[in-house]
């Protein structure tokens, strides 16, 4: 399996593109860290799964997509939603359980979706996004939309039967499906190495699916690999598989004490911050420290604006939710 060694030098990304990627990564990082504090303060109900440390994957993958392309996500999906281009105010409102949220407060963190931009939803069931993306790719093929479907899933999903069924069916039907595994080494509370025998690349090979193993902390490498695989999928060459090696900095969910995890592992995960790599790339592209700082402060202001909007938004009404289980038709 080829190991991508892309860097800023052999990327086709210009200076402004790189700043845009960094802005997306910073938006994911800062929005999630603030959601973490809101959760701790009781302003976010339920439970949330943060993708801190994995931001380069959604940013790099999504930058290689066209607006018509569709994305299915998973429970650790805030980054996918933000990178796909969801409005930050409505995103935060949803997670705060407010009426103006994308799902009118009925879905929450694990179900953020935006039909208008092809965001098919985060998902509370591990591996369930794979067959949904498979179906989306089938729709693209039958309707000849020219779009590709992308699914993000973690290494914990590898042991799910639905993943193997999806690999096989996508390959059999040569569907325009790009499967992105964010391999952070953890399947909920257990190291994946203790739960899954096969290597991901071997698995893709078994199904004759072209695959790349990428440093998922290098946003340029993620972008370049995705661009190649998306082009192949769009050209009718069938499904593609991208494994992005990354790390989970936080617990499985916010509030997870991670007593099952060696503190050295957490320290190492924190050290391998994808922000370091992109900030170095930006410096190499003559982006000044002041410019980088401005991105951070602008993002911080946007995040605070979204939180204020979320706080001011009314709660959803029960009667409206109750009446929306089925699609209204002329008969009803």
């Amino acid at each position: 399996m080829p190991q991508a060694t892309a860097s800023a030098k052999d990327s086709n990304l210009g200076r402004d593109d790189a700043i845009a990627l960094y802005t997306v990564m910073q938006t994911i990082r800062q929005a999630e860290l603030r959601l973490g504090t809101l959760f701790a303060d009781g302003e976010v109900p339920g439970f949330i799964h943060l993708s801190v440390g994995q931001e380069a994957v959604p940013a790099g993958v999504t930058a290689a997509l066209e607006p018509i392309d569709t994305v299915a996500s998973n429970h650790r999906g805030h980054g996918h939603a933000i990178a796909k281009g969801l409005d930050l105010d409505r995103f935060v409102m949803e997670i705060m359980g407010k009426d103006g949220g994308y799902c009118r407060g009925r879905g929450g963190s694990m179900h953020v979706a935006d039909a208008k931009i092809g965001m098919l939803g985060a998902n509370g069931i591990v591996g369930a996004g794979l067959p949904i993306a498979l179906g989306s790719a089938l729709a693209h093929q039958v309707k000849k939309t020219g779009a590709v479907a992308v699914v993000f899933f973690g290494d914990g999903a590898l042991a799910e039967g639905a993943m193997h069924e999806t690999f096989n069916l996508a390959a059999l039907w040569k569907l325009p499906l790009v499967m992105v595994c964010e391999n952070n080494g953890w399947a909920e509370f257990s190291p994946t190495a203790r739960e899954f025998v096969a290597k991901l690349g071997d698995l893709a090979h078994a199904f004759r699916i072209p695959a790349s193993l990428i440093d998922g902390n290098d946003v340029m490498a993620v972008y370049n690999a995705t661009r190649k695989h998306v082009a192949a999928a769009r050209a009718g060459e069938g499904p593609q598989f991208i494994e992005c090696k990354t790390q989970r900095v936080r617990g499985h969910f916010e509030g997870d004490q991670q007593k099952y995890r060696d503190p050295a592992d957490i320290a190492a995960a924190t050290k391998d911050d994808p922000m370091h790599k992109i900030e170095k790339d930006l410096a190499d592209m003559q982006v000044s420290a002041a410019e980088i700082e401005k991105v951070k402060t602008d993002v911080a202001a946007r995040v605070e604006k979204a939180i204020t909007a979320g706080r001011n938004e009314p709660l959803p009404k029960f009667a409206e939710a109750f009446g929306d289980v089925y699609t209204p038709t002329a008969r009803h």
Binding site: C103, D114, G121, P131, G135, A137, K143, E165, L172, T327
Partner: protein, 324 residues
């Protein structure tokens, strides 16, 4: 008007829907080349091509999951799960994805998919190929469930299911596939949620659906010889179900028997009885009674299965009980 078999009526509904709407596609195990394990999809591949009529591997989770994604992407997939017993392997896609997508995403998506699946015994198929699991899916908010007994309903309910913006489980009783009947040249679409009074009667209301309709009608005819007039209601739709039609009938007969092939405990009959007692308590002159399969897996040996599936004798006994 032509004489056809039940399976042909389903096939015609699929063919007509495929002709009318290019977004309709059909996929499942052995539905294309082989024409379906019961011949229901025969000829569709030749007529509509491999892009729209597809054989899948034995992958129920992916079949149902892909239907969800395809429906969210603007297609109207009709997928087959070869036996209702295999619905167990597709339950995440049906229960957690299809049923919830509209509600969970705040009304942004509808999921116009149909799952066709055969249930029922009487063919010696044994414990894993005979179950009637419609109550499982009827229990899930967001799913609709229909179960036709006649050729016009087989056609009309499938057309309605494919037109419906929400996921519909279309249950076919496998003992009916070969049953002959008449079908109009241009059959009507049958609205989901409407029952059909198949036989008028003043003494007892007998609610049923699917293949049990014919055992119920046989029992009703035999009871008529004794001077007992049974009103037979074919439910047709299980979720939503036609409470108004049943209440109207009970207001006349004041007695209710429900017959289904699924096991009695926690079943469709239990729901109907509970709700009818709730909204029509004053109408009842006798406690309502269910006639259904006993609380055991469907057995294989014909001698055992004959006793497992409700028969006209048990149905008649139940009617006599509510009249006693």
């Amino acid at each position: 008007m032509a004489e056809l078999r039940f399976a042909h009526a389903i096939n015609r509904a699929l063919a007509d829907a495929l002709t009318e709407d290019p977004n309709v596609i059909v996929f499942g195990e052995d539905v294309a080349g082989p024409g379906g394990p019961f011949g229901v999809t025969r000829g569709l591949l030749e007529k509509f091509g491999p892009d729209r009529i597809r054989d899948t591997p034995i992958s129920e989770a992916a079949i149902a999951g892909a239907a969800v994604g395809a429906a969210m992407g603007g297609l109207k997939p009709v997928v087959e799960i070869m036996f209702m017993d295999f619905l167990t392997l597709a339950m995440d896609a049906l229960v957690n994805q299809a049923a919830k997508a509209r509600f969970m995403f705040g009304g942004q998506f509808s999921v116009p998919m149909v799952v066709c699946t055969p249930h029922g015994g009487g063919v010696g198929a044994g414990p894993q190929h005979s179950q009637c699991l419609e109550a499982w899916v009827a229990h899930v908010p967001g799913l609709k469930v229909v179960c036709p007994a006649t050729l016009p309903d087989a056609y009309g309910l499938l057309r309605a299911a494919i037109n419906d913006p929400d996921p519909v489980i279309y249950v076919e009783n496998k003992s009916l596939y070969a049953k002959k009947g008449e079908l109009a040249d241009k059959p009507a679409i049958v609205e989901i949620g409407k029952a059909n009074v198949v036989r008028a009667g003043k003494d007892v209301t007998l609610v049923t659906y699917g293949a049990m309709l014919f055992r119920v009608l046989k029992a009703a005819e035999e009871l008529a010889q004794e001077g007992i007039e049974v009103e037979v209601i074919d439910l047709r739709s299980i979720q939503p179900w036609d409470e108004a039609a049943i209440l109207t009938s009970i207001s006349k007969t004041h007695r209710l028997v429900i017959c289904h092939e699924a096991v009695e405990a926690f079943g469709v009959g239990a729901e109907i009885v509970a709700h009818m007692v709730d909204i029509g308590f004053d109408e009842f002159d006798a406690p309502p009674v269910r006639v259904a399969a006993p609380f055991m897996p469907p057995p294989y040996a014909p001698s055992l299965e004959d006793e497992f599936v409700p028969n006209p004798e048990r149905i008649k006994a139940a009617v006599r009980r509510v009249l006693a």
